[in-house]
C-alpha cells in the first residue's frame, strides 16, 4: 500500500514537470503529427509481438535440439524458416511506415 502511494505520488510529481508547456500562451499550437505518432505505436506493437513469437520459436527449437540432438539439422532449418517468416511481418509494417510517413 505504501509502495503504491509512493508510486502514484512520483507519477504526479513527474507530471508537474510539464507545467512550462502551458506558458506558450498566444503561439498557435502546432498540428499534432498523427501519422508519425501512429507509426511509432504501430512499429512498437509489431516489434513487440514479433519478439514474443520469435521467442516461442527459439524456445521450441532449443527444446527440440536438447531432447533429440540427432534432429539438429531439421530443427535448425525450421528455426531459421520460422524466424524469417515472423521477421518479414514486422518488415511489412516498416515498409508501410516508410510509404506513409511523408
Amino acid at each position: 500500500m505504501r509502495k503504491l502511494m509512493i508510486g502514484v505520488l512520483s507519477v504526479l510529481a513527474v507530471s508537474m514537470m510539464t507545467m512550462p508547456a502551458y506558458a506558450q500562451g498566444g503561439a498557435a499550437a502546432p498540428a499534432t503529427n498523427w501519422v508519425a505518432l501512429a507509426s511509432g505505436f504501430g512499429m512498437a506493437i509489431a516489434a513487440g509481438l514479433a519478439g514474443l513469437g520469435q521467442g516461442r520459436v527459439g524456445a521450441a527449437a532449443c527444446e527440440g535440439m536438447a531432447r533429440n540432438p540427432g534432429a539438429r539439422p531439421a530443427v535448425l532449418l525450421a528455426l531459421i524458416l520460422g524466424l524469417a517468416f515472423i521477421e518479414s511481418l514486422v518488415l511489412f509494417t516498416l515498409v508501410i511506415i516508410f510509404v506513409k510517413v511523408a
Partner: protein
Amino acid sequence: MPHQLWITALLNKYFAGVANAILSALHLHSSHPQAPIPNYVAMQIVVFLLLVLVFVLVRTRLSVENPGPLQHVFEGIYGMVDQQGHDIIGDGHARFTNYLSTLGIFILTCNLIGLIPGFEAPTAIPSVPLGCAVVTWIYYHANGIRVNGPGYIKHFLGPMWWLAPLMFPIELASHLARILSLTVRLYANMFAGDMVTLVFLSLFPIGIPVIFMLLHVGVSFIQTYIFVLLATVYIGEAVAHEH
C-alpha cells in the same frame, strides 16, 4: 540531377546515349536524360561483371587431381544447394541447382557490395528484389507445368473437387502473395539495415555504426539463404507428382 555514385557517373558519361535509346525504344523516358542509368542498375552491372569474372576464373582452374581453394568454395556452395534440393524437392532436383545457386550467389553479392564505400546495395531498391522474386515465380510455375502438364491446375484446387471454387481464389491470392513476401522480405531487411546504420551514424559517428555494418553482413547471408530456401520449397511444391 540525382546523387550518383562514381561508377554510375562513369557509366552515364559513356553510355547515356545507349541507355536513352533503349528506353525510348520501350516508349519510356528517364526523368534525368543526362543520367538515365540509376545507381542500382549500375551496381547490378558491376555485380554481373564481377560474377562473370569469378565464374570464368573458377572454370579455368577446375582440376580433378589438384583442386584449389576457389574450387573448394564453389563445390561447397553447389553441394549445399544440391543437398537442400535433395532434402526438399526429392526426385529430379539436380536440374534446379543451377538456377538456385546462381540466384543465391547473385543476391549475396548484391547484398554485400553495399558495405564497400562508394557502392550501394542494389537490393535496397525495391525493383531489384522484385525482379528476383518475379523470375523465381515464373521459374517454379514453368517447371510445375513442365512436370505436371495441364494437371498442374490441380495444385490450386484443393483436396476435394467440391472445395475447388473456394480453394482456387485462395490459392491464387496466396501464390501472388509469395511475390510480395519474397520481395518485401529481402528489400526491407536491406533497407532497414541501411537506415539503422545511418541513424546511428548521425548519433555516434565513431565506432558504433561498425556494429551495424557487421549486423548487415549477417543479415545479408541469412536473407540470401532464406530466399534460396523458399525458392526451393516453392519448386518442390510445384513439381510434386500428384498421387
